[in-house]
Symmetry: C2
Subunit: 329 residues, 2 copies
DNA sequence: TTGTAAGCGTTATCAT
DNA sequence: ATGATAACGCTTACAA
């Protein structure tokens, strides 16, 4: 910057004013400075600007894992949206563990992110380590934090309710649910399970404990094992609600391993509408929350709070659509 | 830092020495300083450190799109590996366009990344804008840049050769290839096409122009359309080599749309071994490059060059394995 | 073993 | 409209 100033015959301050498009610089001077910038190949040093301003222009996005169609998809939207607002996104992987989620918060602090979008799946609202965060956090999609944070929620309960009702409408009566094993507290697993129970109850169907299949992780592998368990059990099953599309993909494969056909023998529905859902054979019916909407709201809430830290927290729930495809035909 | 120094009754410099684990600090002083750090909740300011040292500790990773199982998977490995070496990873999306790839380079500059891992799919080795980069770049996986950059290559030609040979071994004689439309120059598309041609030639099969199906983008959508074209043509086809697993997923779906069975009517093989390949119905045979190895090499090359900028460029080609699954049984 | 001084590149403030 | 100065928090070089 000193070089540019010398070249243009002005002070560093004037260069700064030109670089930042501030008013109060005469046209000829501005031109001279711009020329000097061209000539010297000058570029602002963001570290210096950050040091001075206390802002990095970077927001963190903490997700369980960036591979995983759902979070990858979401991340792509967040990155695009943040860019529109002049923010860069740094991605942290939490590994779907409470410790990783806390680490992400600490990291954000160390790296001086301006804020953090946290897709928490394990962290408890009561976790004392949550108190430490000294900058804006927006919770995305999962746990309930009782109004302590801005929150963009998934339509967990309503979505699964709609999915289960759809299976009943298609004539299913023995509907299994494949879900996580954290059936206590308020989290994605419990809320989706509640939606399933609510739909059964409304249609006068009894939930059968034998039709509750829990998995440790939300992976295709776990889903496949769940599919095996369903196929190998003596229980009649004519429909399956899977907690996520990724798990559904595994369930589908597990049923195929045992020679069961979807939708011929068993109907299957997922949750998320990952890009692959439409291309599976059979294509997967699913609950499709509006990912783009979620990303936009999350970024909007975060940048809003960066501007006004003391504002009241807000909670949004994403709209969703039921995508009916071959797997429930 | 001044606060900590005052609290511990030492100078800022001593605090710095303790924070950076430097030798030459007596044990009692070190303890006092650590206590003071605890008490005050002090954390180093990375911006200040960066400003002083000229290094950010952040490396950029530019990929066409972070959703996309292949790049998501690769990114996860790169992030993990870089973390081991004390680097953070910022992800840039290029949108599979040369302009986006150039932007990523410029961005890296602005954001003062210490280096960039660039998964270039469109950028040409002759592109003049490539000259600008004033920091280390490692090319990952695709284009050939004639030794100008450190490069971790995919086993493009050998992989497709092996895939095609495998189909021939399974009795296929009319083998189509679904690939990109950039059939000139040295890039992933041409090299994989060469591997296909080489395998046909070695087994005395004539390449049939009608069996070359090109797509604009490496997406499931494009693959599906290609599947339709193959099914609707009058040509006999008994095997398909797809340029990527993602495209293969689309081809499989496109063939299913037309009532064609894999592997019954047509055998299909992909490239990449994305996590979904194993879970597709039928499961997808594919060429499996060692992603973890690639990520590790890329990070290693980059950090090596950050340490020694003038070193000779190196080129590695990833090892691969042929995964034989149901789609070619 | 510890401390002092200067400077990394930028910008806010105040002066001209 | 433009400039001088100081400060952001840290580390290198040197002095004690």
């Amino acid at each position: 910057m000193s070089d540019v100033a010398r070249l243009a015959g002005v002070s560093k301050m004037t260069v700064s004013n030109v670089v930042n498009n501030r008013a109060g610089v005469s046209d000829p001077v501005r031109r001279r400075v711009l020329d000097a910038i061209q000539q010297s190949g000058y570029r602002v040093n963001l570290s210096a600007r950050t040091l001075k301003s206390g802002r990095t222009g970077i927001i963190g996005l903490a997700v369980p894992e960036i591979h995983s169609p759902y979070f990858g998809h979401l991340a792509a939207h967040v990155i695009a949206r943040a860019a529109q607002q002049g923010f860069h996104v740094a991605i942290e992987q939490t590994g779907a563990a409470a410790a990783g989620e806390i680490d992400a918060i600490a990291h954000s602090h160390t790296l001086h992110f301006d804020g953090l979008i946290l897709s928490a799946v394990e962290l408890d609202r009561a976790d004392p380590r949550l108190a430490g965060a000294a900058y804006p956090i927006v919770m995305l999609g999962e746990q309930d934090f009782g109004g302590r944070f801005d929150h963009v929620a998934m339509p967990n309960e309503d979505g699964t309710y709609a999915a289960t009702t759809h299976l009943i409408d298609r004539g299913c009566r023995d509907i299994a649910i494949v879900t996580g094993n954290a059936l206590e507290g308020v989290n994605v697993v419990t809320r989706r399970y509640q939606g399933y129970l609510a739909a059964l109850a409304e249609r006068g169907l009894q939930p059968d404990p034998a039709l509750l299949v829990t998995v440790d992780t939300m992976t295709m592998d776990s889903g496949r094992a769940a599919g095996h368990r369903l196929a190998d059990s003596r229980h009649k099953v004519d429909g399956v609600v899977a907690v996520t599309d990724t798990v559904a993909q595994g369930v589908l494969r597990g049923l195929a391993d045992r020679g069961l056909r979807v939708p011929g023998d068993i109907r299957l529905i997922g949750f998320d509408d990952i890009p692959q859902a439409e291309f599976m054979v059979p294509s997967l019916s699913t609950v499709a929350p509006d990912h783009q909407w979620m990303a936009a709201k999350a970024v909007e809430l975060l940048t809003g709070r960066i501007g006004a830290p003391a504002r009241e927290t807000t909670e949004y729930t994403a709209p969703f659509e039921l995508m009916v495809r071959e797997s429930t035909t």
